[in-house]
């Protein structure tokens, strides 16, 4: 529609908020109000008001009253950011009978009063921003939200504690869940731990009941040894392609007896579950309580696949469950919502060369140490040096390896202080060795955590506050031969210390998964500069993302302990359940549509849509846009040389008018 057709004039109400002194302190609110009344009358402004707090119920009532009594057809509120209160004012207008999309909020707080220092200049800027929005809003159209049905199925990616919790909550609510896990068993990192802080519960004992519940729940389809290959669609109807990798074991026939694993002649280093400290067979389940119980054949290492020999597992399997011809399977599932609970990777302590990990045998990472402590680990729970036999008489535990460090990761990994204290306790309990902890700060902030720290202090662990400079095997003083020497500045005593120990444990930080960014792209969500998935709001909305229908939980969005991961898994599930129970979801009506009369069929726009919303109708030789798939970015609107594509909410007329207003002489 061109400019001429848009008169008769609209009746616009302008409301300028003081926000206490947040805006009024730097902007002459009354001045802006008066200016709007005086100078924007020809654009349609019939009333201009100011109020202390527009978002309050009284403020909203002002708007509602004016709509009803003055017959306003457009509302402009000059206040805070639309990301905060656009919904508030739109809903208020809707209550008074005005289509919500005929209300706009222009920010004169975040973008003016909070960031500038000259009141006169800030007031001028506010006037031009208001003018811009007033001129723009004349071209706003009454839009209706699109309603789309929600598929009640949910996809949970990642079978760690957060993913398991989310899956169980939704499944218990009566809806179906596909739980996809990359490794042969669910359980995640928690399955590798020995004890959990602060209660010192055995990790496997509290995890495995949940794993079994998830594995046997009628509403959960467990897809382990599987990965998501492709995601298309939008909230309520995602179409997901999952690759179920070949286990080379027929799940219908396998009883989980374990004979194949016993008879397999080849051992390889287990880099995943045993953190490189132990071995597993080529056909294996990662640990005894694996869910599902079906083993997996590691094809790259298998003798049969390499040179056609062996086949011991097949020979001995009592139910003929081994199938060397099994192929990868591809499944397509339809879900309404997706929860990403993909977890973390451990920081590679080898990068910190001055700590000697990888060079000095008796320097261990935290995960290696967990496996040492674990009764089902490579030493059956005995804490020994790298030779597998000797018990250490002194152990040094170094905090913040790779965390809180400009050279590696700037952030704090949250869990390592508690983990280090836990290690101190276990060492003292099992070996009676001297334990030294080298810390920068003690971060023991959650429930019962600080009490745990007090307990460890009482047990006689020695604490040195200082960032360790070096772990070396070069002895300098008597008593250091054959030991690992930790060189550190004891900042509280104000002196350098060289402390000889038998074993060093590095509390490595945690990092996003190495492929987090690719995974994010697959699902259409972004990562922060540190690589963690970005939540919609760090304070108030920690489990949703900017993409509707994709949620995040657990360490995938940042370092956190087990209770927090469980809470987030449950929170994500609650969100999903609320969407499913509403049966349909409303989508913002900001989308593009083609005016087929104007379309010449040049197809310039056809390749621009990443959501495949644009298609070409051959027999009519015009382009058409699917409003359900269109996400409203507007790229095609900008690209059309004929101006045949209309972008609701951000049309050319609206933007041009806004530019005019902004540049108006004030």
């Amino acid at each position: 529609m061109s400019a001429e057709e848009k008169t008769p004039k609209e009746k616009i109400g302008v409301y300028v908020c003081h926000c206490g002194t947040n805006i009024a302190g730097m902007v002459d609110v009354v001045g802006v109000r008066d200016w709007a009344q005086e100078h924007l009358g020809k654009d349609g402004v019939v009333i201009s008001r100011d109020y202390k707090f527009m978002c309050s119920s009284l403020g909203q009532e002002l708007i509602e009253k004016d709509i009803k009594e003055l017959g306003l057809t457009r509302v402009v509120v000059a206040a805070c950011s639309p990301h905060l209160h656009e919904k508030t004012f739109r809903t208020a207008a809707e209550r008074a009978g005005l289509n919500p999309y005929l209300t706009e909020l222009v920010s004169i707080r975040e973008q003016v009063s909070w960031v500038h220092t000259d009141k006169a200049v800030a007031t001028e800027k506010s006037k031009s921003l208001v003018a811009g929005t007033v001129k723009r809003i004349v071209y706003n159209e009454a839009l209706e939200k699109l309603k789309v049905p929600i598929n009640p199925n949910t996809l949970v990616v990642g079978g760690g504690i957060a993913g398991i919790q989310a899956a169980l909550e939704i499944a218990n609510g009566g809806f179906h869940v596909y739980l996809v896990e990359r490794e042969p068993s669910i359980g995640g990192h928690m399955a590798q731990f020995d004890k959990t802080f602060p209660t010192l519960d055995c990790s496997a004992c509290i995890l495995t009941p949940r794993m079994v519940e998830a594995g046997t729940h009628p509403n959960i389809t467990l897809l382990t040894w599987s990965e998501v290959m492709n995601v298309s669609g939008y909230i309520g109807s995602f179409n997901v392609t999952i690759k179920k990798k070949a286990r080379f074991v027929n799940e219908e026939l396998c009883t989980g007896c374990g004979i194949c694993m016993e008879k397999c002649p080849l051992k390889v280093i287990d880099d995943v579950y045993e953190a490189g400290l132990g071995f597993r067979k080529v056909i294996y389940t990662p640990f005894a309580q694996a869910v599902p119980k079906y083993p997996v054949l590691d094809k790259p290492n298998c003798t049969y696949f390499k040179n056609g020999k062996c086949k011991a597992c097949e020979k001995f399997c009592p139910t003929n469950a081994i199938d060397f011809n099994q192929q990868d399977e591809t499944l397509n599932v339809e879900v309404g919502n997706i929860i990403l609970a993909t977890g973390y990777d451990l920081f590679d302590a080898g990068k910190v060369t001055n700590y000697g990990y990888g060079r000095l045998a008796n320097v261990f990472t935290s995960m290696e140490f967990e496996r040492l402590c674990n009764a089902s680990g490579p030493t059956n729970g005995e804490i020994t040096l790298r030779d597998g036999k000797t018990k250490p008489e002194s152990v040094g535990i170094i905090h913040c390896v790779g965390s809180r460090d400009k050279n590696f990761n700037n952030y704090c990994s949250t869990i390592c202080c508690m983990q280090s204290l836990k290690f101190a306790h276990i060492v003292k309990e099992r070996t009676g060795a001297n334990v030294y902890e080298f810390y920068i700060d003690m971060r023991t902030a959650a429930k019962s955590y600080d009490e745990f720290y007090q307990r460890i202090l009482e047990e006689g662990t020695l604490f040195v506050r200082g960032k360790v400079a070096e772990v070396t095997d070069a002895a300098r003083n008597p008593g250091e031969e054959g030991k690992l020497i930790i060189q550190v500045e004891d900042t509280l005593a104000g002196k350098q210390r060289r402390i000889p120990v038998d074993m060093v444990v590095l509390s490595s930080g945690i990092e996003p998964r190495a492929d987090a960014k690719q995974t994010g792209k697959l699902f259409g969500i972004s990562c922060s500069s540190d690589g963690w998935y970005i939540e919609r709001h760090p304070k108030l909305d920690p489990v949703t993302t900017m993409t509707e229908g994709i949620l995040i939980a657990g360490c995938a969005s940042g370092p956190k302990d087990i209770p927090s991961s469980v809470s987030q898994g449950a929170a994500a599930a609650a969100r999903v359940l609320d969407k499913i129970l509403q049966k349909e979801v409303e989508l913002e009506p900001i989308r593009a549509s083609v005016d087929e009369a104007k379309c010449s069929g040049c197809r310039i726009c056809n390749n621009l849509c990443p959501f495949n919303a644009i298609s070409f109708i051959d027999d009519l030789a015009v382009t058409r846009i699917n409003p359900a798939l269109c996400q409203g970015c507007g790229t095609c609107v900008a690209a059309c040389p004929a101006g045949a594509i209309n972008g609701t909410g951000f049309s050319n007329e609206q933007i041009f008018a806004q530019i005019d207003g902004i540049l108006m002489a004030v």
């Binding site: 061109s2 400019a3 950011s81 639309p82 990301h83 920010s107 707080r109 975040e110 973008q111 003016v112 909070w114 960031v115 500038h116 220092t117 000259d118 200049v121 800030a122 800027k125 031009s128 921003l129 811009g132 960014k517 792209k521 259409g524 972004s526 990562c527 922060s528 500069s529 970005i534 900017m546 993409t547 900001i590 621009l608 990443p610 959501f611 996400q631 409203g632 970015c633 507007g634 790229t635 609107v637 900008a638 690209a639 101006g643 972008g647 909410g649 951000f650 049309s651 050319n652 007329e653 933007i655 041009f656 806004q658 530019i659 005019d660 902004i662 540049l663």
Partner: protein
């Protein structure tokens, strides 16, 4: 104090990253030059080059366009399209006799409020150095009646 030339700059931000960056700058009370007036688009890919022309013709001395970092676009890859258009637009402006340095494209994520403020400040200085654009307009009313020089949709 001599009257310093204060450039007027129109800024187009994308709803998901750069507009939120501007909000983040505001919440953190980071101070920056008031010369930029922001217009919100859903995506930097929405930026039609005619918007830039309209802004310059309407009295702006410079235009700033900001979007999500490559790879982080909320709509997957539309910021690349904005980049393509921007590069061609710069060449076109040169042909018009407008300094290509009057338009600038920056990437800012939702967490980079401080950075956005710095970029705004430095861009304002750059445009200040270039001086007012003084896009020629018809001086007499006779020509003004004909909308020939108006840039319309």
């Amino acid at each position: 104090m001599s009257e310093q030339f204060e450039p007027v700059i129109v800024g187009f931000t994308c709803n998901w990253c750069s507009y939120r960056a501007a909000d983040a700058a505001g919440t953190a009370r980071v101070k920056y030059a008031p010369n930029v007036r922001l217009i919100r688009l859903m995506c930097s890919g929405r930026l039609d080059p005619t918007f830039v022309m309209k802004a310059l013709a309407g009295g702006a001395d410079g235009v700033m366009i900001s979007g999500c970092h490559p790879g982080d676009c909320h709509y997957i890859e539309q910021n690349y399209k904005a980049l393509r258009r921007f590069l061609l637009l710069r060449r076109t402006l040169k042909g018009f006799g407008v300094e290509p340095e009057r338009i600038k494209l920056i990437w800012a994520s939702a967490a980079e409020g401080m950075r956005l403020a710095h970029e705004i400040d430095s861009f304002v200085e750059e445009v200040r150095k270039l001086g007012p654009l003084n896009w020629p307009t018809w001086k007499d009313d006779q020509h003004k009646a004909e909308p020939v020089m108006e840039v319309t949709a």
